[in-house]
Structure formats: structure tokens, C-alpha cells
């Protein structure tokens, strides 16, 4: 197996910076975030979970999807502008999240903006070694990973074992003389989860309990703030707004993150709202992850990263909802 000694990690990142915009976990106050790397020494690969997921690097919080000039002939432009990006330090759950995003954005009428960013990206993951109190990836089967990365690092004290997941990954390892051939290093098995759910027949069970009063209990506590949506690595919904110059000569169309727990998400022209109460909106988000998405794409729409449980100001915990519904 190829290995990379930790003392060589900085040199490796410096080499990557020659060809890529490099993003990796860094410490921010008491927590961790994915951020652009100026100094390779800022990179931290032993971390619990980042505050925000890595989705913003493929699906920015706000992006222009159309620009136009209204002259004699109307000029239209809808072209993604992307740069080569290398994401280092993604945990298996966050790589699974990108695979879920791919299912939603690339399997039918591929989204050209997302697709361009995904194609121009290199993913170097790292196996997580210690779940935090909110994680339930062990239950979702996302604590380990078999695809979706170029390289995967296995922490082994003074060095990393390197799993190669793609041709690009292999070329990278072969082109940089920092990697050595040594004995196989085993992947860690995560233990000590505080939160667990039983996923057996879960999509069907959740639908059967569609009218369960438990939904109202949690729905009434929901503030509809949308934090759960914005930190979620798989929430891919968006809204669109039009912006023009004051004389209507030119304009642009921007999409930005939206969320089904927000009040007006299902509102229609003329004043109707298909989800007028908070319970129906919370239920939409949870059922989409655990029933609707699996029915459509075959996998759970949740990776068990636990971020939504961590940030909810009302202590709404999807594992608790599931466990109460399962009884």
C-alpha cells in the first residue's frame, strides 16, 4: 500500500496548490470549517465534523445561472465558470453526500453548473476516527466508503495509508515522489455512537406513520429558521431571483439555497401555500430524506452527519423522531 508520512503532508498540499484551488478543514474558533488553504500548516485532518458541509464548493450559496442583454438582439449567457479545485479531508459521510447530490443533479438532465464543478474537482478524503455525539453514520451505512474519491487517507499514527479510488488519484500519487510503498494499513471501524436508528424498512414505516401525532409535537417546536437545510450536505433545493439594471437593459438570474422548512417554499401565485403549517414543512424535510428520496433514487437522502441535530435551536433531532415513530 502507498503511504504518506504526516511530515510530508505539508509538501503534498503545497504541490497540490500549484495546480488546484485547495480547500481543507481548518480550525475556526472552537470549531472546524472547510476553507481555502493559504498556508498548508493550517490544514487539520483530525477533526470531528465541520460546521458547514462541502456542498458550497459545488453548489454555491448563490450563483448566476443566466445573464442577459436586451439590445436589438437579446444576448443570453448561461455558462458555468469553474476552477480546478481539490478538496482535502472529507469524511466518508461527506463524500456519500456528494454521491447523493450527484444522483439528484446528474442522473436526469444534468445541471451544467454542478456538473462542471464536479468534473473539475479532486477529492482526497480521510477516514473519520471518532464520531461526535450527533453522528449516526454508523446507522446510515456512511461511516465507510468505496467510491466517490480520488484518494482516501487512513490515519495510522505517524503516516497515512493511501487508498486509490480513480485514475486521477493514481496519476497524482505516481507523479509526486512523496509516497512510499509499505504494508497494508487497515481502515478504522467507528465505535461509540451516541445516536442510532434502525433503517430496516424505514421508508415504508415512515410513510405508514404519516399521520402520527409525533409529527405535530416536533412541528410545533420548529422555528422554521432553515439552519438544518443550510448546513445539510444533501439539501439541494434552490430558489431563483431576477435582478436587472434600473433601465431594464440588462439583467441576471441568480439561484440561491432554499429550504422546504421555510414558510413560503410551497407557496404558489395567487396566495395559496401547499405547506401552510410548520408540521407539514418539517415532515417534508424528514420524509424527503428517509422516504421520498430513497423511493426515487434508491439510497437514503441522509448521511447521518448529525449537523442538523447540532444546530437546531429547538433541539429537533431526526434520530429521535425516527425512534419515536418506530416505537
Amino acid at each position: 500500500m502507498r503511504v504518506l508520512y504526516k511530515k510530508e503532508l505539508f509538501s503534498f498540499i503545497e504541490r497540490l496548490k500549484e495546480s488546484y484551488r485547495v480547500v481543507a478543514p481548518v480550525k475556526k474558533d472552537a470549531e472546524y470549517v472547510f476553507d481555502d488553504i493559504e498556508d498548508a500548516e493550517d490544514v487539520i485532518l483530525e477533526y470531528p465534523t465541520t460546521i458547514l458541509s462541502a456542498k458550497e464548493f459545488f453548489f454555491p450559496q448563490k450563483e448566476v445561472i443566466l445573464e442577459y442583454d436586451l439590445g436589438e438582439t437579446i444576448q443570453l449567457k448561461s455558462t458555468p465558470e469553474v476552477e480546478e479545485i481539490c478538496l482535502i479531508g472529507l469524511h466518508p459521510c461527506d463524500i456519500h453526500a456528494l454521491l447523493r447530490f450527484d444522483e439528484a443533479y446528474l442522473t436526469f438532465k444534468p445541471d451544467p453548473f454542478y456538473e462542471a464543478r464536479r468534473k473539475n474537482s479532486l477529492i482526497i478524503g480521510v477516514y473519520c476516527t471518532k464520531p461526535n455525539e450527533f453522528c449516526f453514520c454508523g446507522s446510515m451505512g456512511t461511516d465507510t466508503i468505496k467510491e466517490g474519491y480520488d484518494l482516501m487517507l487512513i490515519d495510522d499514527g505517524e503516516k497515512y495509508g493511501v487508498e486509490i479510488g480513480s485514475k486521477e488519484g493514481e496519476e497524482l500519487v505516481n507523479s509526486i515522489n512523496l509516497f512510499k510503498d509499505e504494508e497494508e494499513i487497515k481502515k478504522p471501524r467507528l465505535k461509540g455512537f451516541v445516536r442510532e436508528v434502525d433503517t430496516d424498512k424505514l421508508p415504508e414505516i415512515m410513510m405508514k406513520e404519516y399521520d402520527n401525532k409525533i409529527w405535530n409535537y416536533f412541528g410545533e417546536r420548529c422555528l422554521g429558521c432553515g439552519k438544518c437545510v443550510f448546513i445539510c450536505p444533501t439539501c439541494y433545493c434552490y430558489n431563483v431571483v431576477e435582478d436587472t439594471d434600473i433601465e431594464f437593459n440588462s439583467g441576471k438570474r441568480e439561484r440561491f439555497w432554499d429550504g422546504c422548512v421555510l414558510t413560503d417554499f410551497a407557496a404558489v401565485a395567487g396566495g395559496g401555500n401547499f405547506r401552510a403549517d410548520r408540521t407539514s414543512r418539517l415532515k417534508q424535510r424528514i420524509l424527503h430524506k428517509f422516504s421520498y428520496y430513497p423511493e426515487r433514487y434508491g439510497n437514503f437522502g441522509c448521511t447521518g452527519c448529525g449537523r442538523c441535530i447540532n444546530v437546531c435551536p429547538s433541539d429537533i433531532d431526526c434520530t429521535r423522531i425516527i425512534n419515536m415513530i418506530r416505537g
Binding site: 445561472i65 443566466l66 442577459y68 436586451l70 437579446i74 443570453l76 448561461s78 439528484a104 443533479y105 436526469f108 438532465k109 444534468p110 445541471d111 451544467p112 453548473f113 410513510m207 404519516y210 439541494y236 433545493c237 434552490y238 430558489n239 431563483v240 431571483v241 431576477e242 436587472t244 431594464f248 439583467g251 438570474r253 439561484r255 432554499d258 422546504c260 417554499f265 410551497a266 407557496a267 404558489v268 401565485a269 395567487g270 401547499f274 405547506r275 407539514s280 417534508q284 420524509l287 424527503h288 422516504s291 421520498y292 428520496y293 423511493e295 426515487r296
Partner: protein, 273 residues
Amino acid sequence: MDKELYLPRIAILKNKMDETPDTSTFTFILPEGGNLNHIPGQCLQLTVFGYGEAPISITSSPTQKDYFQLCVRNVGNVTSALHRLDIGDKVGIRGPWGNGFPIDRLKGKNAVFVAGGLGLAPLRSLINYIVDKRDDYGKVWILSGARTPKDHLFRSEWNRWNSIDGFEVLTTVDRADDTWNGNVGVVGSLLYKTDIQVENTMAFICGPPIMFRFVTIDLKKLGFADDVIISTLERHMKCGVGKCGHCNVGSKYVCVDGPVFTYEEMKKQPEAL
């Protein structure tokens, strides 16, 4: 094509005809000629530059080769901007998208159309498709209801439809006025005012959700099966391509899996009914 998923193409406003005080039928041509080659029941995303996009059903039949029509109520930001456009102005369109009505399944069968208000707009595409492909389809009943006589759409076409062999048009209003001496009452009541054949017939319902519920009860009473009761779902689609999530209903996206669903399919999805 997929590279241009969010890039509208241009259409030119050719004609505008007022249907009701707040609803008009807009006729567009494509600069390159031709039509949209759509399936009756499909939608498109209409851009009024400077205002944004709105999902609109196509009201003309694809058998009209030189233009397409949208029947739009002045109800929101984009639609009111559309109503202010002048002939010759350019708009953007993306689509047509969605599944459309099951025109192949309907072949050789009869069709009963039940429309409430603006619901006649998407149905008109299929009605005029049948008119132009008369030999492929059986009898046609068109039942249309509106709040008041002036809220009825496509009144200028009633006589033409009624004169076609095998076609029957029945209309009603919730509230009559001096100009109206026809039926008064809900549109579902028209089902009992004529001899509608249930066997080998498909029912197409478009209108407000409450009307759909009552008409479905009537159709069930008459003996229509769940898989021949067909309707469209209305949701606010932002993208039209199954991404933005706004039209999500259960495991379906109205923009790509719909907007046409059978009653049987709707019953399987929470929130559809």
C-alpha cells in the same frame, strides 16, 4: 441541450386576446419558425426579461404548426408583466417539459373533459388535438364551469366544438347574470345532464383542488376507474428540470414526472390530493 438547461430560447408575441377581465390568450411564434412539438398537457417556463420565470401550461395543440399559445391569468409578478407586453415583444421560454396527457392511451377511446375556470387552458390543448386528429378518438364531452359568465374561457370556440360530430359542450356558472340563461351550479352537476358513456372513456379534470375532489367523487359514482381519471397538479416550479425541489410531491417532481397524473397515482403520493 443539457448544457443549455437554464438558457431560454426566444419567442415573439404575435397576438393577445382577452378571454376574461384578468385572463388572456397569448400567441407566440419562434424566430426560427415551427412550433414547440409539445405533447398536450406539457408546460414551459416563461421568462419575461427583467421580471423572472413562471411555469405555464401550453394551451394550443401541437397540430398548430406555426405558433403556440399560452392562456395566462394576471396573478403574479411575471404574469402581470406578460400582460403589459406589446405585440412584437420578445420573451424567453424553456421547455416544453413534463409528461403531458396520455394521448396514446386515449387512442380509440372517448374523452370527458371537466374544467373549472382556468383549468380549461391545459385541457384545450388536448381538445384541439383531438379535433385535428378526429379519426383517432371517440366521443368527446366538454364540461366547463366558471364563477360567472364573464369568467368563462374560450367562449369563441364553444360553437365550433359543439358542431363537430361526436362532440358535446356543456357549460355552467356558479352565479348567473342577465347575459346567461344556461346552467347554474357546480361543474360536476353537468355530468348528470347528459348521457356520458363510462365504458371505454377517460376523464380529464383540471381546476381548483376542491373542484377536483368533488368531481372525482361524481366520476367514481358514475363508475370511472382510478386509472382513467386524469388530472394535473399545480405547484410552483422554479427550475422545471427536477432540481430546485419546489414542486416535490412525495417521491415525484411535478415538473418532470407530471404535471399529468392519474387519480390512482395521486392517491399514492402524500400531499397530492
